[in-house]
Point group: C2
Chain length 390, copies 2
């Protein structure tokens, strides 16, 4: 066993001052719970606006649908992307005007399209003839944008295959749209969530350019490109900063479209809210499986079913901090349920101080996205993840 | 494309009469939802009692924790296995006496042990020194059984690694137990959920015998073996019937322990309730990704986040029926959320009639276990899975 001291780059994730505040705020609360820092979300929004002035922001609600998060972004002037009529209802209830809402799921029931249209939504994504016809029937005159199938190479949480169609099929759909009484408005793609290879945007933007030109040759002038999300949050794996992403994506756009850019929409979800969340959890048990096991097992009171579903296949590697001193010791991390699938990290070894004890708390950073809303209603009787706003 | 007619062995899962009842009951209800047939659970219980008269049944609540399911089994005389204090609270609220409850999770907070003890629970599982000492402090005099680590080869949903310890370590724990003021009561193992290889029980029972003898040599006479669960439900993959399991397991026990069997406990979860559940879902969209795609994509209004989490890695292959006639056509099946992970079956191809249309209903059988309680609180805004009892 290596005897190096345990270290953790705490200040990459939270200032000392903020961390002390969080400890003070949370010390008397029963774990596990999520703390969401609304000011951090405001700062993320401001930063995104600053670096991507050429783009209109549609916050992808699904990343964190808490009312307070929506309200903060609404007041900042954000637009929104709703995945379902349930999210649409929430946005309307919170006073977001339908003009600020896009319906961004390619998988829609006809009655849900009708409902969204009735409520005033006029911007829809599509990727199939069947859906396009439903839009024609239930949302006449709406602006439609077409989702192109892209590869998600380089994304920690890939989004390929299920959404979008090949450019060739999309071209056919574009040609049909006007005749159906809809406005062929633009194109969209998604390079995959937590996409760490910026070049993937270049590939996708080139495909858009190709379709723009092909459609224009038929007299159809598309007006918009939706660059999707995929901008990274700060997990364990290295990623470039937002400024670099913004500069590069702008360069790709200029190369293909020149100074007169089409309307650009982005749909950030994870990158807007993930860094603002910290989950506080407790070590339930530390055990060995055999007398001379190489690794101890550390069981936390939160796992895959309680909000950390994105640890599936160890895709998302959350930074996890134990506020103790000692030698660094690699362990296997697991959740609290009676399900063997509920192991967090076994291949990627996490290090903690060898002094870590049962009852100690750990702080799981970058957990503001895809956690609370993904927790189960009651697996093993555990309640859904509690959350607090600060 | 093969032009064989679409077939589905409907009567393996539900009688024609019952299926008509279910269609009548459900036709005006908005999908998706789960229907749980309580009489079927009663029959499963009776069948289990009939075939395994040598065993005491502790229903593993986590498989389906609906109050009505618990009450039916309580009235039948079942005992229960609770995974958490939350499940314990539910059982007590429903009038189950603490003597009928085992605390079957090896991962326990000290305060939760104290709580269970205070409520009258006296039977606990353990697999580590740390947990054993917590039990000694907070549940003095209780009966303790030790979970042995087993391989889950042959299980559709493996449960290895995370729970149990090697027999050698368990032996050390057994020797310490009396000195700590606890009663070393028995051994347990779990061969993995939906275990289709009966021989796995033989391996595990042999390990128990070995430990029984070793403990007896030190004057410690264990009294119980908990065979866990793992008895299969009826999914797509073939499995033997319960009678065969029961006969074989009894034979393994007799071979190792002779006619004077120790007290035998079983913890069925899935096998008790899975067959009693049917999820009714609607086809939202059928689409192609390219002009000459080999497979259509069929999107249902339920997916991994809405209750079908066990389709992860396509582990559990639910039987899915579409009540239409036509040629069999293989498709890719996906769920309704904006997450690419939410694909149900892509490698294993499911066949449906080529006439299947958007808006048609499909019936997903054997969904009474690990569905409703595993649905997310609100991913993509979708509410948790609704359920009805019949």
């Amino acid at each position: 066993m290596k005897k190096e001291p345990y270290t953790f780059p705490l200040e990459e994730f939270v200032s000392k001052e903020d961390f002390n505040k969080i400890k003070k705020f949370s010390h008397d609360k029963e774990t596990p719970f999520l703390i969401v820092d609304l000011q951090k979300i405001e700062r993320s929004y401001d930063e995104l606006v600053e670096h991507m002035r050429f783009a209109k922001i549609h916050y992808a609600l699904k990343a964190n649908p808490m009312d307070e998060v929506v309200l903060v972004l609404k007041n900042k002037g954000s637009n929104f992307d709703a995945a379902t009529v349930y999210e649409l209802d929430q946005l309307l209830r919170l006073g977001v005007e339908p003009e600020r809402i896009s319906y961004g799921n390619t998988i829609k029931k006809e009655k849900d399209i009708a409902y969204a249209y009735e409520k005033g939504v006029r911007l829809f994504v599509t990727d199939s003839e069947s859906d396009l016809k439903k839009l024609a029937r239930k949302a006449p005159g709406s602006r439609v944008f077409f989702r192109i199938l892209t590869e998600s190479e380089g994304a920690d949480w890939p989004l390929s295959r299920k959404f979008g169609a090949h450019p060739d099929l999309i071209y056919q759909l574009i040609l049909k749209t006007q005749k159906l009484g809809l406005e062929p408005y633009g194109l969209s793609f998604h390079v995959g969530s937590q996409q760490r290879d910026i070049g993937q945007w270049d590939n996708a933007i080139s495909k858009c350019k190709y379709l723009y030109v092909a459609a224009a040759e038929k007299g159809i002038h598309l007006k918009m490109i939706n660059l999707g999300g995929g901008f990274p949050a700060k997990y364990q794996a290295q990623a470039h900063d937002l400024e670099t992403y913004a500069k590069e994506i702008r360069r790709f756009l200029l190369e293909d479209f020149g100074e007169k850019l089409p309307e650009i929409i982005i749909e950030p979800g994870r990158s807007m809210v993930a860094d603002a969340g910290i989950i506080v959890s407790e070590v339930i048990m530390i055990s060995k499986k055999a007398r001379f096991n190489q690794y101890k097992w550390v069981y936390l009171d939160i796992g895959k079913f309680g909000g950390l579903i994105e640890t599936l296949d160890e895709c998302i590697k959350y930074p996890i901090f134990c506020d103790k001193k000692g030698c660094a010791e690699e362990v296997i991390l697991a959740g609290p349920t009676c399900d063997s699938m509920d192991i967090l990290y076994e291949h990627r070894k996490y290090s903690f101080p060898h002094t870590m004890k049962e009852g100690n708390r750990v702080y799981i950073f970058t957990t503001g996205a895809y956690t609370q809303s993904c927790s189960c209603v009651g697996f093993n009787g555990f309640p859904p993840l509690r959350s607090y706003l600060i």
